[in-house]
């Protein structure tokens, strides 16, 4: 059985992004890019399943420009077996990505798809659930534990108020949350090996998917900064300010 892991190239989580002067978007030139942190967790989980011989192959897929090859190589260095780049220079919104991934899933017939729970650029938290709908399979979003048996999985999800565990027949779509695992670092020998692993490029258009954006993004603004606060000398001053100035306690 094969696991498909969609990975997105995003601005590194340590970067504080800036809006472009004309407010048309976020300044991306010269900004450090990285694999979406949740997708790194998804890759790790898939590789562990293969190492435990529960699955035979881990295929990673990224939709985006040629630069996403770098992201795919990162995933290959972590232990994925093979990569697919669905190449497009267009702005790809989550629905378009889900439809592209559906087309890839039709070709690859994975037994399991593990997405990240959310991309840290658009913060949409949509693609995995939409892919599950398009594939007509069950979904387990925000997974913190995954147990696989022959034709089914049990997934523990982080929900408001606690945890819930679902059983799903395969194929299914899971989205990875922060506490699913701690991803490994790619070692230098593995980074070298990853350069020789197969990376196939498909044109998005060849998959027969219309990727035209459905949503228009207009003005981008930085939220108003909070007005500068003060440092208080001690607990007594804090309490007095909370009482008399902020009138909160």
């Amino acid at each position: 059985m094969k696991v498909l892991v969609p990975v997105k190239r995003v601005v590194d989580y340590n970067v504080k992004v800036r809006v472009r002067g004309d407010k048309s978007g976020v300044e991306l030139s010269g900004v450090k890019m990285a694999i979406n942190p949740f997708d790194e967790i998804a890759v790790e989980e898939a590789v562990r399943l293969r190492e435990a011989q529960l699955v035979a192959e881990v295929v990673v897929v990224s939709c985006g420009t040629a630069a996403s090859q770098e992201t795919l190589r990162t995933a290959l260095a972590m232990g994925a077996d093979r990569a697919i780049l669905v190449e497009s220079d267009a702005e790809l919104q989550p629905l378009a990505v889900a439809r592209l991934l559906k087309a890839v899933a039709d070709r690859e017939q994975p037994g399991l798809v593990i997405c990240g729970k959310q991309a840290i650029d658009d913060d949409a938290n949509q693609t995995g659930q939409m892919l599950a709908a398009l594939m007509g399979v069950g979904q387990a979003a925000c997974a913190s534990k995954l147990v696989m048996s022959d034709a089914a999985i049990e997934v523990t999800r982080e929900v408001d108020g606690g945890l819930e565990t679902l059983a799903l027949p395969l194929p299914a779509v899971v989205t990875a949350d922060l506490r699913l695992n701690e991803p490994r670092y790619a070692t230098l020998p593995n980074i070298m090996k990853a350069k020789k692993k197969p990376l196939e490029t498909l044109a998005a258009a060849a998959l027969g998917v219309d990727v035209t954006p459905r949503l228009r993004h207009g003005r981008h603004d930085e939220p108003a900064p909070r007005k500068a606060g003060i440092k208080v000398a001690d607990v007594a001053e804090l309490v007095s300010r909370l009482k008399n100035e902020a009138k909160l306690i």
Binding site: V11, K16, V17, Q93, P94, L95, K117, Q118, D123, N125, Q126, Q129, M130, L131, A133, L134, G138, Q139, A141, E154, R157, E158, V159, D160, G161, G162, L163, E164, T165, L166, A167, L168, P169, A172, D177, L178, R179, R214, L215, R216, H217, G218, R219, H220, D221, E222, P223, R226, G229, I230, K231, V232, D234, V235, A236, L238, V239, L242, A246, L248
Partner: protein, 311 residues
């Protein structure tokens, strides 16, 4: 155009989050109908019917909706949207709403919009991206607008005159997932998302015992909810649902007290719209002080008990 609000509940009580969703739904213009789907959930339908602004409640009662799983619910929502010609579907940006609404949208072949914080008109919204560091305006011409809305950005709808409750028919079981177990914590404290005061702890607390010994008494004194940073959750000090931030809960209480939290952007994303922020940290350069109205530099093991003793 009619809006369908998907009510969140546990078959007994309507979630507070749905009250905020109803306020947001009213901004879209047109009638607001609520779907209450569950098993033996008539009490919830009754509560939903009394929400100010609700024009009707559709109550669908069947065992397949008991556990609120996305596959069966999404199929039901889609059939209702079509049968009732709804132009909008709205749900809270909770774990429940984020799980369900994208599935609904994909089945309707429309692009959903997550975490809406402003509604100018139907199809014109603002939402945060990049951990709340950017607010983007979004325009959509989709025939059905599928939205999740942030509770912190819309007031809670109060109670009004009871709207009619209509019984709806259940769909077939799609059989794609099954609930094995659910461990939901019930707490005597206010709910994190709705609390007026939140006391949050980070890695600086050092252990779960310290967290409980230091922060619980302070929260008790203040009538506050307890929250945490990701680091505190990852280290096992507190359960996952305490996490505040980009990928945790979004809170905007009147007072947020951050104890032993450095203030990473992912944490700030979840709390920087709070009314007043207090930070207690031994590092004077910790980024949390850049958003704190009142910063107290020092050792939390001394300062927190002192604070608890004087409020």
């Amino acid at each position: 155009m009619k809006t369908l609000v998907i009510a969140e509940h546990d078959n007994l009580n309507l979630a507070g989050a749905t009250r905020h969703a109803v306020t947001a739904a009213a901004r879209l213009g047109g009638e607001v109908e609520l779907l209450v789907a569950g098993e033996c959930c008539a009490p919830v339908a009754g509560q939903a019917a009394r929400l100010a602004g609700a024009s009707r409640v559709i109550h669908v009662d069947a065992p397949i909706y008991r556990d609120q799983l996305a596959e069966n619910l999404a199929a039901l929502v889609v059939s209702l949207v079509k049968a009732r010609a709804c132009g909008n579907v709205v749900c809270a940006s909770s774990a429940f709403g984020k799980n369900l609404t994208p599935r609904v949208a994909a089945l309707l072949d429309v692009a959903p919009v997550s975490d809406v914080t402003q509604i100018f008109a139907r199809g014109r919204y603002v939402r945060p991206i990049y951990a709340g560091n950017v607010l983007v305006s979004v325009e959509s011409d989709e025939p059905v607008q599928v939205l999740t809305v942030r509770g912190t950005a819309f007031d809670a709808a109060g109670d009004g005159a009871a709207a009619p409750v209509e019984e709806g028919a259940a769909g077939a079981d799609v059989g794609l997932s099954r609930l094995v177990s659910r461990a939901i914590r019930r707490s005597e404290r206010p709910e994190l998302g709705a609390a007026k005061i939140v006391v949050s702890g980070g890695r600086g607390l050092g252990s779960g015992e310290n967290y409980q010994q230091l922060l619980a008494p302070l929260a008790d004194r203040l009538g506050a909810a307890l929250g945490a940073s990701r680091a505190a959750v990852d280290a096992g000090y507190v359960p996952n649902d305490f996490q505040v931030g980009q990928t945790g809960k979004i809170v905007a209480p009147g007072l947020y007290v951050a104890v032993g939290i450095s203030g990473a952007i992912q944490h700030l994303a979840g709390m920087k719209d709070s009314g007043v922020i207090v930070a207690i940290n031994k590092d004077p350069d910790a980024p949390i002080f850049q958003v704190a109205d009142y910063g107290l530099v020092g050792d939390l093991f001394e300062l927190v008990p002192a604070l608890t003793g004087s409020v």
